[in-house]
Subunit: 358 residues, 2 copies
DNA sequence: GTGAAAGCGCTAACAT
DNA sequence: ATGTTAGCGCTTTCAC
């Protein structure tokens, strides 16, 4: 039985009474350890005790204090790290950030489901303040997105801190940590094939920056689809972008300036695909009549584009949810799967059409 | 001098050594209380000690543990509560949520500046799980946005928990808690006046839902501008919407079906204004040639609209930042200002023009 | 100006 | 199956 003083019934600071585990134990006439056992669903509690304790918990509206739990064991905190530069530039561009919204909501809902809480923070490439964040917050797990999920400096710091992490859409070139992804190569191949099915033969490709694992994978998918169809790919059909709208404009200019020019362009993300549509309009090339355009991601730009973009939809919310799930499960059992592949979906919209017969 | 065992130098759980306040004290040859004093910038520490301690802190890369601090005193956590229904529907609509992104980033950056951490959670109108969240997380402050910031159930729960809160764009009808806002009435008046300056006389208005404080305030601004210009407002010029695109379509239909019809429409948010533009297109009414349209908020819909919407820009990031600032300051000094008004800005885009001369 | 000791509310290791 | 006792890493009295 508790002999410890309790704050219940008197004011704690500015706030009113808040029940603690001692109050629950006292009310149920048991020890705090039994209460703790029930709270954590540990075995070795008689059903009778369990019910008495649950009663007391409900009666006192008791909820375990996250800080206390964190100090003693698990923090019940999951940290999502997003790239600072990327996020800030998205915000400045005023184009919204569906990826971020979906990611966060997916992660948040899964956290809530398990009594965890989500903290979102920015990381710069050097991961300057990461060590501080980790050692002061001690999250039970960290969710990483591109490009941070492939940043060795960041992964090293996490390993050193002993903090489990889940990487969303990681590069295929190293298998560290938990990983959640779609089959980007197959998706890229499939969307390229859909262009080929529409009769296109000269299909241009705009690649992403080297430091994104996705860049190489998507390009590989494109190449494979072309070769599977027995189509040659001229070197000048591939232009290097960096996933920004601006780089898309440049690449589009390079691609559309050729003679004969491509009848279709696969930009490896939607922002660049949007740029292709803009550039085409500027050059008087009708989309999709004279040029089919496809992107990747199903970002906002795909929907607001005129015509709306045919693209590949990544289930970001679900991926984030899965990442959190893996992290939470990982804390409870070490034998959990360390990689999960989720399904993507081709979204056919107005930016693609049969090749014109000219 | 510390006699307490320390984890420094040995593995703590899965993780490597992490310095604690005891390690710092030991290294500096002082008591943990002195370290604590320096960390919290308390007075009564000699400069000599201070420097020695700061040295040790740097050498050990020490960062105070948030959970421990939370247990003993302040949690260093700020909670942002966003309306569940609103947020989920935004996500489902796949139109992005600039408001949410801006809000969160503004709050997050201010938190980081002060060594605080931000947690974002959803609240349903009944505020079901709010009590649980508050008592388990014990945040030092809560940021509230519309419509939650005017939800008495929520405010009551917060008051009962003794948790300080800052309301962003609160209703003017009750002055509870800290408040951050723009002068919505004046903004509404000004944007209405800008329409009048363009020669418009028959100006329709689409109101927002009753449970938003902003609705009434914006309507008041509209009415005041009209009356200040000596213009009569016919009852049928005011249509009630609910801030959704769909309701905007209905209101637009009602307004544009009149004879003579309005030459300009002020929709009290951008989503409804976007709907007006869509409806006008459907009816063959050219914007801005035959109809000027203005919105409010400068949301994504304002930018992606064709033509882009003239609207009022709320500095959401700054408002969130200010809200966090007030909350953090409130913890340190009770005499802080409890309300802050920030500047708005009229954004003139392509959806407004001189009234046509017919 | 400085420090020793007592919690904060939990979980974990060890009895019983 | 249940309880006792230490901490976890800080802040806060209250001594000196």
């Amino acid at each position: 039985m508790s002999r410890r003083p309790t704050s219940f019934g008197k004011l704690a600071g500015a706030g009113p009474p808040v029940a603690t585990i001692y109050d629950v134990a006292a009310r149920a006439g048991v020890s705090i350890k039994s209460v703790s056992r029930v709270l954590n669903k540990e075995p070795h509690v008689s059903e009778k005790l369990r019910l008495k304790i649950l009663d007391a918990v409900a009666a006192l509206d008791f909820h375990p204090n996250v800080s206390a739990r964190g100090l003693a064991g698990k923090s019940r905190l999951v940290l999502v790290l997003v790239d600072a530069e990327l996020t800030l530039s998205h915000l400045r561009s005023e184009h919204g950030n569906l990826y971020f919204d979906r990611l966060q909501l997916g992660a948040m809902l899964k956290c809530r489901e398990h009594g965890y809480h989500l903290i979102v923070e920015l990381v710069a490439p050097g991961a300057d303040k990461l060590g501080e964040t980790l050692s002061s917050l001690r999250p039970d797990g960290v969710v990483l997105t591109p490009p941070s999920c492939d940043d060795v400096t960041i992964l090293d710091k996490l390993d050193r801190a002993g903090t489990p992490y889940a990487r969303i859409s990681p590069s295929r070139f190293f298998e560290r940590g938990l990983r959640v992804f779609i089959d980007e190569a197959q998706a890229a191949q499939e969307i390229t094939a859909s262009l080929i099915d529409l009769g296109h033969r000269r299909i241009g490709f705009i690649a992403g920056p080297k430091d994104y694992g996705a860049s190489q994978t998507r390009q590989a998918g494109y190449l494979q689809a072309m070769s599977a169809a027995g189509l040659e790919v001229k070197p000048e059909w591939i232009s290097l972008g960096d996933f920004t709208f601006e780089s898309g404009i440049d690449s589009a200019a390079a691609l559309l300036g050729q003679t004969p020019r491509p009848t279709a362009i696969f930009a490896s993300n939607d922002d660049m695909a949007l740029a292709v549509v803009h550039k085409a309009a500027e050059l008087g090339i009708k989309v999709p009549d004279a040029l089919s355009v496809v992107g990747f991601d199903d970002a906002l730009s795909a929907r607001f584009c005129l015509p709306p973009l045919t693209t590949v939809r990544q289930p970001i919310s679900e991926m984030a949810s899965k990442a959190v799930e893996l992290l939470i499960a990982g804390g409870e059992a070490k034998d959990c799967t360390d990689a999960a592949q989720l399904p993507y979906r081709l979204v056919i919209r107005g930016s693609t059409a049969m090749v014109s017969s000219d």
